[in-house]
Amino acid sequence: MTNAQTLDVAVIGGGFAGIGAAIRLKQHGIENFAILERGTALGGTWRDNTYPGAACDIPSRLYSYSFAPNPNWSQTYSGSAEILGYIESMAARYRLRPHVRFGCTVTGISFDEDAGLWDVAIEGNAAPVRARAVVLASGPLSNAGFPDIRGIETYEGHKIHSARWDHDYDFTGKRVAVVGTGASAVQIIPELVEKAASVKVFQRTPGWVLPRVNRRTNPLTKSLYRHVPAAESLARRAWFYGHESVALGVVWNTPLTRVVELVGRAQLHRQVRDPWLRRQLTPDFRAGCKRLLMTDDYYPALQRDNCKLITWPIARLAPNGIRTAEGVEHQADCIVFATGFEVSKAGTPIPIVGREGRVLAEEWSRGAYAYKSVAVSGYPNLFFTFGPNSGPGHNSALVYMEAQIDYLVRAIGTILDRDLRMLDVRRDRQDRYNETIQRRLTATTWNSGCHSWYLTDDGFNATMYPGFATQYVNQLRSLRLEDYHVVSADASTRAARIAAVS
């Protein structure tokens, strides 16, 4: 490779994780890094998900980095625009812009063992990049895809995916079909019924719906948080431990799970009068097994005169609409697919070639695994954010992400400070870790029998962390070098590095 630029760190992805990693790298004194972002703006999931009603279902106080506090959150659960504003403000505040390379689609990475460098292949004419370490911050929720429904190509109306919203399309007076009833759908539907002539909601599986009490933040509170940061930190802690306690019912299948279900049932009874509609909306799996839905507006929206819940299986799409198995063609001017993302539970988002030519996608073909979700044996100096088994079911993803970032910055600091060729996690430690994780997963709600995007088709859970967020954070608090093969750079490595770059 010629004219390749050698970075200390290549951060792949400019979403929450990439920005957070960049901030912490800078705070650690590491400046020779780049954020490689395929889009033209920062923000990742929050840049892409701009559908009407898009909001976070974790309180903003907790859905933000503790090292980049924001006293100005306007409400308990902020909308996507405000969250995106927060991400952009962090980029400005920590002067990250010079580090960002937009339109930079990484097509694969491979490890040069002699030089102790990762070759980062970039689509198009962009200058190739080599890096001592790579942070794969591409995120699990970054690839939106239309579902595999028969005849989808024959539909002649307008198609919109929730994660690629078409803001130019005017829903006023239109007949709209919404496919999916997950976290995005329950936010979109209440907005659509306000505008569209009719909204038909196609449901496959109903989820547990819990109340979401959203309040505007009092100006006095904002002022307090601005002037007394400790007060904000305290509020964040309160939210954190509040959510931690929910784990007892949501992460593990316990009597408290019934309590969560009771709250869900009470919400259903309070908001839905018709017994058949209630039956259609009653989940047949344990609360927590699939992602919990937090909304007060969804059930009332479904019962509006211009809205209808359809639970018949979709047979196919036809030029004018959706044909369901009860033989009726539900005609629609526009179909909104709120069908989620192609979450990678097996395989990798880009080809990753590690030591001795091993290919990570092949090793992960039966389900992904890693050491503490951050590192994989055989792929030195490579760190994942939101890697395998790091998903929370009850607490803020940002808490988990922050722990991963601090861990990987510590590791990268070690690589650079000690001039290591390789920091490669030991296979036996990784295996032992995963055995424990999989054993602990058997007692969780996610593995209690439902089908969800958390599991592979074989029922392997490569997604969720079976414990409290506190446990997750604690295990990443220190970098135990005895868990790694630590290989120092020597003269030949340095020669290989020079040869590789020139």
Partner: protein, 309 residues
């Protein structure tokens, strides 16, 4: 004889591949004139009952979709539930084609069908799969099977023939799964089967179910006779339950199968004293005041003759 083994995955694929829609049929096509005024008068209540009987199966499958032990079977029952609704829709579309509907009116069924629907709507979600899985097949062979066959034999209208050809194909898949599941259920431990049987019988609600079910078969026989058709067609359909069920040693182990089969045997034997009770119940239920019957469940309002909505 060997068990009736079925690859349910394969069956689900088949079900998905063979979906049809109301829009696939030209409801205004020629042939409606083949229904003479005299036939029209007799056919109208018959079709109304048939359309509602589809909903008996529909409600049963809806309950079974909640109980099925595997996701594949749950999905199959979800499709069957929808297909029964499709059959009801198609039958309503035929009634409209033949000028049997006034405005948006949904014709009402006879009181016995209504009682069974009431019962299933109220209690079927609480019944076990082995219970539903043995009774629903009987209702399917006896009512759906016999009545659909009767329509195909007696009505010449080509549009009707086309619709019922499709309905029949669906029903044959329903029955294949019904019996395969009965066979599967029969693999359970006898102790479990007996517990479920006793658990099912001792419920006071079960008595309501029996009192709804018993007159239903006799009432449908009366209907068939009123249409000028040989009641043996119904009996032959009833015997099919026994004939197919007997092929599986596991289905035979199901106590509920034995009971339903025995009952079928009584129904086809017009000399059996059982008919004193059943016919009496038909007469009594006919006098049930309308206001005592529950209003139609909201799902019943979903039936439509419109191919597009």
């Amino acid at each position: 004889m060997a068990a009736i083994a079925m690859d349910f995955e394969d069956m689900l694929r088949k079900i998905k591949d063979r979906q049809w829609a109301l829009a696939d049929i030209d409801w205004d096509g020629p042939g409606a004139e083949t229904i003479t005024p005299e036939l029209h008068a007799r056919l109208k209540p018959f079709m109304a009952d048939l359309m509602w009987i589809e909903n008996v199966g529909a409600r049963g499958f809806a309950a079974m979709a909640k109980k099925a032990p595997t996701e594949t079977l749950r999905e199959i029952y979800r499709y069957f539930h929808a297909e029964e609704q499709k059959h009801a829709n198609a039958e309503l579309a035929l009634m409209r084609r033949w000028g049997m509907l006034e405005g948006d009116e949904i014709p009402q069924p006879n009181v016995n069908v209504k009682l069974v629907i009431d019962f299933l709507d109220k209690y079927s979600d609480d019944m076990s799969l082995s219970f539903l899985g043995t009774v629903i097949p009987m209702l399917e062979v006896a009512l759906d099977g016999a009545l659909v066959k009767f329509i195909m034999d007696e009505i010449e209208d080509p549009v009707c023939q086309e619709a019922f050809k499709r309905i029949n194909a669906d029903e044959s898949r329903h029955l294949a799964v019904d019996f395969a599941v009965m066979d599967l259920l029969g693999h359970a431990e006898m102790r479990k089967l007996l517990i479920e049987l006793v658990g099912g019988w001792v419920k006071p609600t079960f008595l309501i179910g029996v009192l709804s079910y018993v007159p239903l078969l006799n009432k449908m026989r009366d209907n068939i006779v009123a249409m000028g058709v040989d009641e043996n067609k119904l009996y032959k359909a009833l015997e099919r339950y026994r004939n197919v069920g007997e092929r599986s040693e596991f289905a035979r182990r199901l106590p509920m199968y034995q009971i339903v089969k025995m009952h079928g045997g009584w129904v086809v034997n017009r000399d059996h004293p059982y008919h004193l009770l059943a016919d009496a119940l038909v007469k009594i239920t006919a006098r049930v005041p309308k206001r005592l019957l529950r209003r139609d469940p909201t799902w019943a309002k979903e039936i439509t003759y419109e191919p597009a909505a």
